[in-house]
Assembly symmetry: C2
Homo-oligomer: 250 residues x 2
Amino acid sequence: MANSPSGDTMTERLVRVLETFTTERTVQTAAEIGRRAGLPSSTAHRIVDELVGAGLLERDDDRRIRLGMRLWELALRGSSALRLRQAALPFMQEVQRQVREHTQLAVLEQDEALFLERLSHPDAGANITRVAGRLPLHASSSGLVLLAHADPALRERVLSRPLRPLARETVTDADALRRILASIRRQGFVVAPGTVETVSTGVAVPLRSAGEVVAALSVVLPRDTDPTASVASLREAAAGIEAALRADRR
Amino acid sequence: MANSPSGDTMTERLVRVLETFTTERTVQTAAEIGRRAGLPSSTAHRIVDELVGAGLLERDDDRRIRLGMRLWELALRGSSALRLRQAALPFMQEVQRQVREHTQLAVLEQDEALFLERLSHPDAGANITRVAGRLPLHASSSGLVLLAHADPALRERVLSRPLRPLARETVTDADALRRILASIRRQGFVVAPGTVETVSTGVAVPLRSAGEVVAALSVVLPRDTDPTASVASLREAAAGIEAALRADRR
């Protein structure tokens, strides 16, 4: 595909444009997009015009730019994220009915936990997770489950990097993490108090499809809650989702 | 952006590649993508390689191609579809708890109803709606609500086209539809029996944000169900979602 004078491909420039939109920044001018994407102004305007023409971006009456519904549709329609999430949703609702806090579904993406879904009770406690948001593998309960079952090379790559704490109690020592990961593989779940936020405890279990761990199912509880019932609820839901995924693959 | 010899832009080719993936077709070879997108084989392989490199597509061990998690993330993270859906979800769950059939959220996109969310009870009746799927405006209850409140020019454009029936009872006469749309604007809801499938009845209400109808909230009931309780449930949910959207805009 045609390269620009700076040598980056159109796809790379497209990704840089899309990356300027975040959960907190959903509306921008074309000039802001260009600046944040590191593109010359004329290039940014041309790309934005073209993406607006295709419906991948939308321009409002004030000429501000948003992500387009058409992009949402094309990205979701045939995606395994949607399939996994649709299979999981009824069981997540059941967990939510029992636990009444936050119930979440995450996958491993680019060495982080990417959250595909989050259900929250109106009165639930603190939780920084967002749908389409990410958390570090070593700090979140979902991430720890995904890391425990990841390819060993990926696991060692992640553990050999500087491990940033998210909260005072985040475990950042590689050997301590290796012991936690081994225990997750042995026990089939993790309880991670205070590793993302001091006030909350993450509880997560693996989800398997065709023998591989493909996702983590988790709840976020207020710190002082006994996690025992949540572990049982998550395990039951995971078994249900795994059966639904088996039926889906037939 | 660089044009190909055939004059289409990279964005157009990207859209054509993404359009080859559907709810039913989530895995393809690069050759199949090229054929379905109408691209020369070498071009298709080059575009697929580049999109795989950026994570927008993923290649499995059998060299088959899927939509990438990275595409899902970039398309959702800053999208108004996600914001609307997150605001609506707790209220949709409440409708679902009361009605126990199918509860859906749709927006107007390219003269069709695009479904952002669907919750379904395991024992619920027939329903052809899919998340990220579409239905014609004149046939579905959600579409009728969106059409009733659409820009008059769009409404007349849709009504002046040949209106295809989805089922025996789909209303396809423009004047009859104009009367239905006027009644929706007056009553604030629609009950559409048998217009999508003979065995089911759609019930839908509008959702407003900043004074404009931005979405339709609907349930799909088995044909013989009295819709009265569903209308009340949908109206209460719509009021709750509208309040959440107001809070979100502050």
